[in-house]
């Protein structure tokens, strides 16, 4: 099968992944508020995962419908979180209210 796209710069992606991992470690040990730290770490992990899927797994160069298959699980996962987390939130609220 003829691959029409040029091979991506894999070493470039590697340096990005390495740099972002170092950034994650730095953020994890930084004396910053917990909420900010969690948001930064989740953001960095999301960027790294996207880089792996787009370039190493070639999703960027595939048909759009394959990307739809790939993003279905994360989308379902987010829906799942919204269904189940109100239970946890309610438990935390009642604990907080009892004090």
């Amino acid at each position: 099968m003829d691959t029409t796209h040029a091979e991506p710069n894999y070493m470039g992606i590697f340096y990005w992944l390495f740099g972002l991992t170092v950034a994650e470690l730095a953020v994890a040990y930084m004396p910053i508020p917990k909420g900010l730290m969690v948001a930064a770490l989740v953001g960095l992990a999301f960027v790294k995962a996207t880089l792996v899927a787009m370039y190493f797994m070639h999703l960027k160069f595939e048909k759009r419908i394959l990307a739809v298959i790939a993003v279905t699980p994360p989308v379902l996962l987010v829906m799942f979180l919204f269904i189940t987390y109100p239970d946890t939130a309610w438990r935390l609220f009642t604990q907080w209210a009892a004090h």
Binding site: M1, T3, E7, Y10, M11, I13, F14, L17, F18, T21, E24, L25, V27, A28, Y29, M37, V38, L41, V42, L44, A45, K48, A49, V52, A53, F56, M57, E62, K63, I65, L66, I69, A70, T72, P73, P74, L76, L77, F80, L81, T84, Y85, D87, T88, R91, L92, Q95
Partner: protein, 201 residues
């Protein structure tokens, strides 16, 4: 669709190409498997998050787990992903020696990851916690990293099979190498998430 494929289709024979992944059905099969596998990992990670958010006395992971040690494991897995794409790149040029060299390095990276994880688990079980001794922290830790470790082990076996069969691949015919690559990168991707959620946060 080529004329031959159209002809096959009219004769009631299954068409040889798929509109989603023209290279092979196997590639589409792997993508669908990975989508299902992502649901398994997603369910485990979502469960872990719900249990952790709802627990008022969750320990700070870096005080229990060896974060620098696992940072090296993360680095190792990223490196093995790079050698995997290099292996595919090599056989796309028809370079069989390159394919074997880079596949070998990928297998080595996966095996080293497993060795380090075995060492980490041994240390934790002997000195820190077991599956049941530290409440939900220990239980979720061993289930999540264990499920991922099983995937790495399967990946090393899968890569070894492709390595053993490497003489069969050429510039024109190397689809199984691409498919094993998809699996291996997915395992790397999941580790990126586990490292962040279980060790760093």
């Amino acid at each position: 669709m080529s004329q031959a494929a159209v002809l096959d289709h009219t004769l009631g024979v299954e068409p040889a190409e798929t509109p989603l992944t023209p290279e092979s059905w196997g590639k589409l099969g792997m993508w669908l498997f990975l989508a299902g596998d992502a649901m398994s990992f997603g369910g485990l990670i979502a469960g872990y998050a719900a249990l952790r958010i709802g627990d008022p006395v969750w320990p700070v992971p870096s005080t229990v787990l060896g974060v620098p040690f696992t940072a090296v494991m993360t680095f190792l897995l990223i490196c093995s992903s790079v050698t995997m794409v290099k292996a595919l790149e090599a056989i796309k040029r028809g370079d069989q020696a390159g394919l074997r060299r880079f596949l070998g390095l990928t297998i080595l990276g996966g095996a080293c990851f497993l060795g380090m994880q075995a060492r980490e688990w041994t240390h934790l079980i002997e000195h820190v916690m077991t599956l049941t001794s530290k409440g939900l922290f220990g239980a979720t830790f061993f289930v999540l990293t264990g499920f991922h470790g099983c995937h790495v082990f399967s990946g090393v076996v899968y890569l070894s099979c492709i390595f053993a069969n490497s003489a069969a691949y050429s510039k024109e015919d190397h689809n199984p190498v691409e498919i094993v690559g998809l699996y291996w990168h997915f395992v790397d991707l999941v580790w990126i998430l586990i490292f962040t959620f279980v060790y760093l946060i």
